[in-house]
Amino acid sequence: MKELDELVKIREQIIPRSQLKRLAKRNNYAGLGFLAFHLSLIAGTGWVVHQAMGTWWIVPAIFLHGAMLATLFAPLHETSHGTAFRTVWLNEAVLWLCALIYIFPPKWFRYHHAFHHTYTQIRRRDSAMVLPRPITLMQYLVYVSGLTVWRRNLKYLFSHALGRIDPAEHEYAPADQYPALVREARIMVAIYAGIAALAVTYGSWAPVIYWLLPRIVGESYARWIRIAEHTGCDEGSDPRANTRTTLTNPFIRTLWWNMPYHAEHHLCAFVPFHALGKFHEQVHDKLAVSNGGYLKVHLELFRRFIRLRHGVQVN
């Protein structure tokens, strides 16, 4: 496989396997620490929503809580790689928990995401290519709203639950796994139906207020972060140029389980999140690194690729 051979060749030029092996060591402590921090923050913003009930503060509170729920994409992503914890059952349990809250079938995410790693930034092959250029302002805004992502994610959930895997997506997973993909979607739908039944029985709006509504509006924050990972980078399989690391403050980095070190992650996905900082120190001069935070990446994208309303291509 051409893309794969290129990735391995470049990786070997950048860092020897002996060094990678040391970085790749797994443990449970880092994951448990990050998870505890993450869940405490979510509980905290949930409490803020509770306090804001009945006032206008509820609007920003729901957005804030939604942004925190959206960051669950980070542990979902890390556990899908199997690198969040050393203990397999712990990894799988956290994967399922995040997938349920995030509303994305976990096994399907694994297959879908694996394809993205193989064909990163290869047009019409990359399963998660975000806004290939040229980007218009409208496309950018629609993407950041998260609406298209919701349409896609819910389609996965419900069509799989109905026993249908879209033929356009057959190549992501081997056919012998389709029954398992259908089963996981049905389990998720059954759990959601159970929550809905309980909410109706007890006349409670809690699932809507603390989960669904914030989850919907907060997706924008995940999209804002995801855009910075590859959008505007080179197309092609060279990991030094097709992925961007965004240097940001320790709080955001922790919230996103070190995913901002994205070029390092794509260079070698078996290095766990907690070792990415160290990995970055060893290889940053060989990778695409933006050092002004997320705002700078987005402003740069505006400058380079977005055709503004008056139709002038700024580039």
Binding site: M1, Y111, T118, Q177, A269
Partner: protein, 114 residues
């Protein structure tokens, strides 16, 4: 019962770290890519290419008695070759091994047997 195939010299035992893997090619024309593992002092051998998207398993990580594929982190059980976690679902082939005078040999069926 004698197994079909031929014992091929694959690696020096001292070249493989404990709980690690090396990739070799064996066969008349080097047609078999084999991963040789040393787990707790014992040697095992499997095909070196992942059954998911052909990444080289000898670039991966040995965790307990599993080999984790470097590309998408699918895992195979080294002694049996069974696929243990998505995205891998098809097992990898395993080969018998023996160690003589510090040399690891693998029993590989020649292509005419396959």
């Amino acid at each position: 019962m004698e197994q079909p195939g031929k014992w091929h010299r694959a690696a020096l035992l001292s070249d493989i770290e404990n709980d690690d893997v090396v990739g070799v090619t064996v066969g008349e024309q080097g047609e078999h890519e084999v991963a040789i593992y040393k787990l707790g002092g014992k040697c095992y051998a499997t095909a070196d290419r992942c059954t998911h998207q052909t990444a080289r398993l000898s670039d991966g990580l040995v965790i307990d008695d599993f080999i984790e594929c470097p590309l998408h982190q699918g895992r195979f059980h080294i002694p049996t070759g069974s696929a243990r976690s998505a995205p891998v679902s098809t097992p990898i082939r395993t080969y018998p091994t023996k160690v003589e005078d510090g040399v690891v040999y693998v029993l590989v069926e020649d292509l005419r047997f396959e």
